[in-house]
């Protein structure tokens, strides 16, 4: 059931529970109140009755006291004596009685005398005394009879003269006293009760009776007082006699009405042992009344009249407080219930409204609309739930978007896949590589492309299902390099077994491929038999080449060594010749004629030339001898050394700009610059020689230049001068060995540069050479390049 119902039920339940408790409490308190009230009413009734009784007793005692009066006694004994003397007292009495009756209101002198005698006078004064005292005739009538029952004194005319036939007279005579029920006394015209007391003479013998008619006003007063004293307005007191007749009631009843019918039927049972002293009763059409009752108690001397005093109070009044309480409770209950309802409603709403919102949102989500905006202002659990729900919806949205994106991607991938499968098949069949697809567990061929088929020379239907060992692969079963030996076959040379049993060299790569959902091996291979052949041929060639190179190197070395040794060996005799020539001139020059001396001089020059040539050869050969290592050369310092070595004549100035450092062997750099500059010095033909050395930057190269204002060179010689042993001047003019520029060129070309000359015959020449800024592995060209032959 719904929360609202639950809440309502809950609250209602609670309220009902409270109501029930309240009701039970009310009932209980009502019962208690009833009992209490009933009992207190009974007590009240008893008290009232007591007071009535006491009152009456009082009066009885008054009368009793009076009965002891001397005068009364005297009169009574007198009367008694008189009567005793009569022959027929009864007849006497009877006669008077008849008279009494017949005469009605008339008073005979006898009668008057009865009420006028001294005793009567006392009686009257007594009566008046009380009359004055209380303001009303307390005793309506008092008279005394003798023991025969005849009136002897009376306050007023009684109805009868003879009283001995009256019950009261007899009762008084027998019991000592008598109190009658309340009755209407005709003589005194009052509601009264008769009190008769027996008079005894001094011997204790019955002598007469005194009767007083007590106005029950006192009783009534007492009853009225009781009522007045009560705070209950509806309290009614009813005095009921032995016969069930109402003697007096504080209201609403006729005298002597039957209590059974006037009040309620069972009143007499009240107060009996075993029964409660109160009861509630309702007469049809009338209000409910609680009756409490008291019986007259019998005192020692006095049995009591047997009266019952009933109190009756409207239960409505008794339970008015209860009713009040009930009303209050009801009101409170109602207000609590309404408050509860209100609270319940508030709670209900605070729960159900957000829940309804949440539910709406969930419905939205279930319909696929994730754009909920569930804002909750409260921070209670439901608010948190809403917040979490919101997050969840957002996350769902995101996840769905991601999923959708992924699905789109997947779809695309799928179509791509289909496409690529088709492409794959096309590729497989058209590629120039042979392809096998092999099941790694069973080593059976699952698929092969046409190139593979052709290479192996076995048709596809035979290939598929066959085991690859010893069929297409040289490996033994159990020694498969991939599955057993865990090798990686990647571009490795293997052998393919053809159908004819031949081994075909191939380059094979094996990778894994997922084929039909399972891992397979993809073998791709290329026939390299042609390549192999070429490789072998190449190897042979290489070997030959190496051999040749070794031989060449060896002979090259030998040659260089030869040149070196030869040069050295040549130098000595050359020097010897020169020395001897000197000595001849020195020692025997005088013996020669001019021609002889000239010849010796020519001899010496030739010797010098040989020496220079040999030096040049040595230099040239030396360049290739040692393996140059990279060396940073400071050209500025080097220039100083070179100029120092060359020692130009005073008229020749060698000016060097600031030169950058270069990477080469120092000897080479020295030789290079020295060669060119010494040439310039040697051939200087101007009186003031100027040789300028400088450098220009040309990208990755330095372009050095050595400029002189010498004789210059004709263009047709530009190439030749760089060849070995080529000199331009004739053999007799100062000359060089002819190796300088060849050496320079060799050095420049070792370092990957170029050398050339620009010249104006007569003006001068500029020699240019380039040098790489970076280190370059030196290149040795063959000697033929430097030779002119």
């Amino acid at each position: 059931m719904k929360i609202g119902h639950k809440l309502t039920l809950g609250f209602m339940g609670l309220t009902l529970l409270i109501a029930a408790i309240g009701y039970v409490a009310l009932s209980a308190s009502r019962d208690i109140l009833e009992k209490t009230f009933g009992e207190s009413s009974a007590v009240l009734a008893a008290q009232t009755l007591d007071r009535i009784q006491n009152n009456i007793l009082n009066r009885i005692e008054t009368i009793q006291a009076y009965s002891k009066d001397e005068l009364a006694k005297e009169y009574i004994s007198q009367s008694n004596s008189q009567f005793e003397l009569l022959p027929d007292p009864d007849g006497y009495i009877e006669q008077i009685e008849n008279d009494w009756d017949c005469l009605g209101n008339e008073l005979t002198p006898f009668m008057t005398q009865l009420s006028a005698n001294k005793l009567a006078g006392e009686l009257k004064s007594k009566r008046d005394f009380y009359n004055n005292k209380y303001g009303y005739p307390l005793f309506a009538e008092i008279f005394i009879t003798n023991r025969f029952g005849a009136n002897i004194a009376q306050t007023n005319k009684t109805n009868d003269y003879y009283q001995a036939d009256e019950l009261w007279w007899q009762q008084a005579r027998d019991n000592g006293r008598f109190v009658s029920d309340i009755d209407y006394d005709i003589s005194s015209d009052t509601f009264s009760t008769a009190i008769a007391v027996r008079i005894d003479n001094s011997n204790g013998d019955f002598s007469g009776v005194i009767k007083a008619v007590l106005n029950i006003r006192e009783t009534v007063d007492i009853i009225d007082q009781a009522k007045a004293a009560s705070e209950y307005k509806t309290l009614l007191l009813h005095l009921i006699n032995n016969d069930g007749k109402i003697l007096y009631s504080t209201s609403g009843f006729d005298f002597f009405q039957d209590a059974n019918s006037a009040l309620f039927p069972d009143w007499q049972s009240l107060g009996l042992p075993g029964r409660k002293c109160f009861v509630t009763s309702r007469k049809a059409g009338e209000k409910e009344i609680l009756y409490a009752h008291a019986h007259t108690k019998s005192t020692g001397q006095f049995d009591g009249q047997g009266w019952v005093l009933l109190t009756g109070t409207e239960t409505a009044e008794i339970f008015a407080p209860i009713a009040e309480l009930k009303r209050t409770l009801l009101l409170a209950g109602l207000s609590i219930m309404s408050l509860a309802l209100l609270a319940g409603t508030v709670i209900y709403r605070s729960i159900t409204v957000p829940i309804a919102q949440l539910r709406k949102a969930t419905i939205q989500v279930s319909q696929g609309n994730l754009d909920t905006n569930l804002t909750s202002t409260s921070t209670d659990e439901i608010g948190q739930l809403a917040g979490s729900f919101q997050k969840m919806a957002q996350q769902l949205k995101k996840t769905i978007a991601d999923l959708n994106a992924e699905i789109a991607v997947r779809k695309k991938a799928e179509t791509g896949l289909c496409e690529s499968e088709g492409q794959l098949r096309t590729i497989l069949e058209n590629v120039q590589t042979g392809i096998f697809i092999i099941d790694p567990e069973t080593h059976t061929i699952v698929d092969a492309n046409s190139v593979a088929e052709k290479l192996v020379g076995i048709p596809l239907n035979q290939l598929v299902g066959s085991v690859c060992h010893k069929y297409i692969c040289t490996a033994e079963k159990g020694r498969c390099p991939i599955t057993d030996l865990n090798q990686i076959v990647d571009n490795s040379e293997r052998k393919l077994l053809t159908g004819g049993g031949e081994e075909c060299p191939i380059i094979k790569t094996v990778t894994t491929i997922a084929f039909k959902g399972k891992k397979h091996l993809l073998e791709s291979f290329v026939d390299i038999s042609e390549r192999k052949k070429a490789e072998q041929a190449m190897e042979k060639l290489n070997k030959d080449l190496e051999t040749t190179i070794a031989e060449l190197s060896r002979s090259n070395r030998q040659l260089q060594d030869f040149v070196h040794i030869a040069a050295h060996d040549l130098k000595t005799p050359v020097r010897g010749i020169g020395t001897l020539a000197d000595w001849i001139i020195n020692d025997y020059g005088d013996w020669f004629d001019e021609q002889g001396r000239e010849q010796i001089r020519l001899l010496k020059t030739r010797v010098l030339r040989i020496d220079k040539l040999i030096d040049g050869m040595l230099q040239f050969s030396k360049i290739a001898r040692n393996r140059p290592k990279e060396h940073h050369v400071d050209l500025n310092g080097l220039m100083k050394t070179v100029i120092g070595k060359i020692k130009p004549a005073e008229n020749i100035e060698i000016a060097a700009d600031s030169l950058p450092p270069i990477n080469c062997q120092r000897e080479h750099a020295e030789l290079l610059f020295e060669s060119i500059i010494s040439n310039a010095v040697t051939f200087m033909d101007k009186p003031k020689g100027l040789i300028k050395v400088g450098c220009l930057e040309q990208g990755d190269f330095w372009k050095f230049y050595i400029q002189d204002n010498g004789p210059g060179i004709e263009q047709k010689h530009f190439e030749r001068i760089f060849k070995i042993f080529q000199t331009l001047p004739g053999k007799d003019t100062p000359q060089t060995a002819g190796v300088g520029l060849a050496v320079a060129r060799k050095i420049v070309e070792i370092y990957g540069g170029k050398i050339w000359v620009e010249s104006q015959p007569g003006t001068g020449s500029i020699f240019f050479f380039t040098f790489s800024k970076k280190w370059e592995e030196p290149v040795y060209a063959d000697a033929k390049a430097y030779s002119a032959y």
Partner: protein, 147 residues
């Protein structure tokens, strides 16, 4: 002054030897010049206790049987001989030869000029220097010799 002690010239080329001697003559060097044509002969001479130890050795490098370098090696480990200053007198300009010579303890390295006049200058320089240099006395040498 080392006027008494000879100069040992180890040179295989006759003309070169003649050149040295002639140069010494022109320089008026009075010390006797002992000439060996190769390293072996020179060693034999040096090791012969009869012979006077030279005050300086002029050594050529390119020689048959035992090259100058080999001679250097042998002499410079010889306690008797290693203190004699050896000037290498050669045609070779090879840096390697220079390095090797000095590594082996040569006291100098002179390149024989082709021109005689220059040659004389070189010899003059050597003589002037080594002639005035203090050298270990023979007594010291003799003490170290175990005779």
């Amino acid at each position: 002054m080392q006027t008494l002690r000879p100069i040992l010239l180890i040179e295989d080329d006759s003309v070169d030897a003649m050149t040295v001697k002639r140069a010494m003559r022109e320089l008026h060097v009075t010390n006797s010049i002992m000439h060996s044509v190769n390293g072996e002969e020179a060693l034999a001479y040096l090791n012969d206790p009869v012979n006077e130890k030279p005050f300086v050795i002029l050594l050529d490098l390119n020689m048959p049987k035992m090259s100058g370098i080999e001679f250097l090696k042998v002499v410079k480990v010889n306690a008797d001989l290693k203190m004699i200053p050896i000037i290498v007198l050669t045609t070779s300009k090879e840096k390697k030869d220079v390095v090797d010579s000095f590594e082996l303890g040569a006291a100098g390295y002179m390149i024989k000029p082709v021109d005689y006049a220059k040659f004389v200058e070189v010899i003059s320089t050597v003589m002037v220097y080594w002639g005035s240099s203090e050298l270990p006395r023979e007594e010291v040498l003799m003490i170290n010799n175990k005779r």
